[in-house]
């Protein structure tokens, strides 16, 4: 099982003829992902890697190939357009990898997406998601570090998610799914929404949760965990060393008030019953110890 992706996921890559889009489309296909179409306006009719048809529009791609997941690599100025195009075609799952999308574009987009409840946006500014059991990778994570298993991962980061997965796999702990929800201040899918999916997934026993400074999404997650989440959760919050008011790479990673600090987030999650991972070097270790308690 796992969440979001499965054996029936059919992927359309928006921006497939670009450098990054092409590179990652190839990597996804090499992993086993069923990439059925590409979209680049004006390049319809081309064939990518001798097997993936390229279309001028998402509408054409969906009609001709039955694509049901969009993976977006278009440059930031055009990212909102690409997301809206997929949403307008009713593509139920959209991962926007693009970094640097203006926040006010995402704000307007989020209003539009509220009118399309069947559509879920992951990102922007995210690594995407993967379901190792289904051999389906929709994103930029290195596929080789994953192995199928029963731990779900959710994170605001890219490379730190790979770090977490690397530690888990190194200890023989496989993943049911991994989702990077994105590092921007306004994103399509929150921690709480992904936790709800893991709660409902019979093949996820435990969740590794990786948050960071900025905003209060971790506190919202803590409230949800306390209220409804019944599975064990191991939580890491990074950015304890970050100074106030400075943007730490991610547009969303900035301390603007007390609740945005790492300590406040750790306290809320601990209060909610999460197993706190004390340093980023101990993600695997704490998860392993928590899994042992389950048995």
């Amino acid at each position: 099982m796992g969440i979001l992706l499965d054996e029936n996921s059919r992927i359309v890559v928006q921006g497939i003829t670009g450098r990054e889009g092409g590179f990652h489309a190839r990597a996804c296909m090499a992993y086993g992902t069923n990439v059925v179409a590409g979209v680049t306006p004006g390049k319809g009719g081309q064939v990518f890697e001798e097997k993936v048809p390229v279309f001028d529009s998402v509408e054409d791609a969906v009609r001709e190939t039955g694509a049901n997941v969009s993976l977006i690599f278009v440059p930031a100025p055009f990212a909102a357009d690409a997301v809206a195009e997929s949403a307008s075609c009713g593509v139920p799952l959209i991962a926007c990898i693009t970094e640097g999308v203006p926040v006010q574009d995402t704000v307007r987009l989020s209003r539009y997406l509220e009118r399309r409840p069947e559509v879920r946006l992951i990102g922007p500014n995210c690594p995407g998601m993967i379901n190792p059991g289904a051999r389906c990778k929709v994103g930029i994570m290195p596929g080789s570090i994953h192995r199928p298993g029963r731990v779900g991962v959710v994170s605001r980061s890219g490379t730190l998610t790979y770090e977490a997965v690397g530690q888990l796999t190194g200890l023989g702990i496989g993943q049911s799914s991994c989702v990077g929800i994105g590092g921007d201040p306004v994103i399509g899918t929150s921690f709480v929404e992904v936790l709800k999916l893991y709660q409902a997934d019979p093949d996820t026993d435990l969740v590794v949760f990786i948050g960071e400074i900025g905003g209060n999404m971790e506190q919202e997650a803590a409230a949800y965990i306390q209220r409804e989440f019944t599975k064990p959760l191991c939580a890491l919050i990074v950015g304890a060393t970050a100074p106030t008011g400075k943007r730490m790479g991610h547009a969303g990673a900035i301390i603007t008030g007390e609740s945005a600090r790492a300590e406040a987030k750790v306290a809320a999650l601990r209060q909610a019953g999460a197993h706190i991972i004390p340093t980023p070097a101990q993600i695997g270790e704490v998860t392993q110890a928590t899994l042992r308690q389950l048995r």
């Binding site: 990054e20 590179f23 930031a76 100025p77 640097g100 999308v101 203006p102 926040v103 006010q104 995402t106 704000v107 307007r108 989020s110 209003r111 930029i140 994570m141 290195p142 994170s155 605001r156 980061s157 890219g158 490379t159 730190l160 998610t161 790979y162 770090e163 690397g166 530690q167 590092g183 201040p185 306004v186 990786i210 960071e212 400074i213 905003g215 209060n216 999404m217 919202e220 890491l236 990074v238 950015g239 304890a240 060393t241 970050a242 100074p243 008011g245 400075k246 943007r247 730490m248 790479g249 991610h250 547009a251 969303g252 990673a253 008030g257 340093t279 980023p280 070097a281 101990q282």
Partner: protein, 384 residues
């Protein structure tokens, strides 16, 4: 991207928001002339990208053109240290010379993005003139938050509600509505992450005037604002941070000694936490990004090595897009250019990792390799 008060006020004025009469000067002689033009009395305001100017002595009232010249001489060319700057402060290269305002009441008005609401909110308070963080902490009930639906924009009923909450006199409701509407237009049309008027004053003759003005333009939106890009003042930025911005590298100067080069913002924050927990505080945050080539990696390492506080360097690359051999070549290049001998702790995983390690081994640099974050922590505390 921050802009200066006088730049924000010029934009305010263009959108019809009343601002005090004034002009920008860069020499004491110009300050004298500017004060004379205003009738002799004026306020001199240091133009710096930092709050807390008043308490730090960056805002002075003068009673004559001669005093304006003297005071300008004491402000210009100095660094101003406020509670928002580091100990070096920020340079004062220009002053805003403005007419004195007849202040009856000080208000606060701002628009920013509320993450939970996923949209803009207007913040208003009758407790203007002080730092809004203090108001938020001590009496949050005094701040009114008005969420704005981006599809509708700021609606007239909302401006009436905010005016009522601010307990404005009825005669001020219409000018307040116009001002709020203009502020929202600035926020959206200039892609701001914050516009703030603090204080917004009610004058003795019952007018609303933006006595101060602050605008943060979202860096990610500058591609569609060529005019706003021109407003950047590099002199206000930390020189290494400014260099990093130019190179497209996310860099933040910190207080420690361990120079850090990482790919990915989350992993970079995690790396700082690890090295800090090991008793070796980081000198910087640096995310070199996924698409870096060896020249960009070299520039990043160059920035780290330009920081005199750095006494060792930690590299943590979890390569997916960024190839390890590319990063390694960049590191060696930067060390050669700087002639540096500082010890390096390197942790590399992912694409072309063996080539990367081989390049570093052959380089003659003082490199310790680590495989895990735990090993990184041990190695970096020993390298000091």
């Amino acid at each position: 991207m921050k802009v200066h008060e006088h730049q924000a006020k010029a934009i305010f004025a263009r959108y019809g928001i009343p601002v005090p009469r004034g002009s920008v000067v860069t020499t004491p002689q110009e300050a004298r002339q500017a004060a004379a033009n205003l009738g002799g009395q004026a306020v001199l305001k240091a133009q710096v990208h930092a709050g807390g100017r008043g308490k730090a002595g960056g805002v002075k009232v003068v009673r004559s053109p001669a005093e304006a010249e003297r005071t300008a001489g004491s402000l210009l060319g100095r660094n101003l240290v406020t509670h928002q700057t580091d100990a070096r402060g920020v340079p004062v290269h220009s002053l805003l010379v403005e007419e004195l305002a007849d202040i009856r009441q000080e208000l606060y008005l701002a628009i920013t993005i509320d993450r939970g609401f996923r949209g803009p909110v207007m913040l208003a308070s009758a407790a203007g003139g002080m730092e809004i963080e203090e108001v938020a902490a001590s009496r949050p009930q005094d701040i009114h938050t008005e969420p704005i639906e981006p599809v509708l924009g700021l609606m007239p009923y909302q401006t009436r509600r905010v005016a009522a909450r601010l307990q404005l006199a009825p005669a001020l409701h219409r000018p307040a509505a116009q001002l709020m509407t203009a502020l929202y237009r600035i926020f959206t049309e200039c892609d701001c992450s914050l516009v703030e008027i603090n204080p917004l004053v009610v004058t003795g003759d019952n007018r609303l005037v933006a006595l101060d003005g602050k605008m943060d333009v979202e860096g990610d939106a500058l591609f569609r604002h060529a005019d706003l890009r021109e407003l950047r003042d590099r002199a206000q930025e930390d020189p290494l941070e400014a260099e990093a911005v130019d190179q497209g590298i996310a860099y933040v100067k910190l207080d420690g000694q361990v120079g850090c080069l990482v790919n990915g913002a989350g992993l970079a924050m995690a790396t700082l936490d690890v090295t800090n927990a090991a008793g070796a505080p980081p000198a910087n945050f640096l995310d070199v990004g996924g698409g870096a080539d060896d020249e960009k990696a070299a520039k990043a390492v160059g920035i780290i090595l330009s920081d005199p506080a750095v006494n060792r360097v930690l590299v943590n690359i979890f390569g997916g897009i960024l190839r390890c051999d590319v990063a390694a070549r960049g590191i060696v290049l930067a060390y050669q250019r700087k002639g540096s001998r500082l010890p390096l702790v390197v942790r590399m995983l992912g694409t072309n990792v063996e080539e990367g390690k081989e390049i570093l081994r052959r380089s003659g640099l003082n490199v310790t390799f680590a495989d895990t974050l735990g090993e990184v922590a041990r190695a970096i505390s020993r390298a000091g």
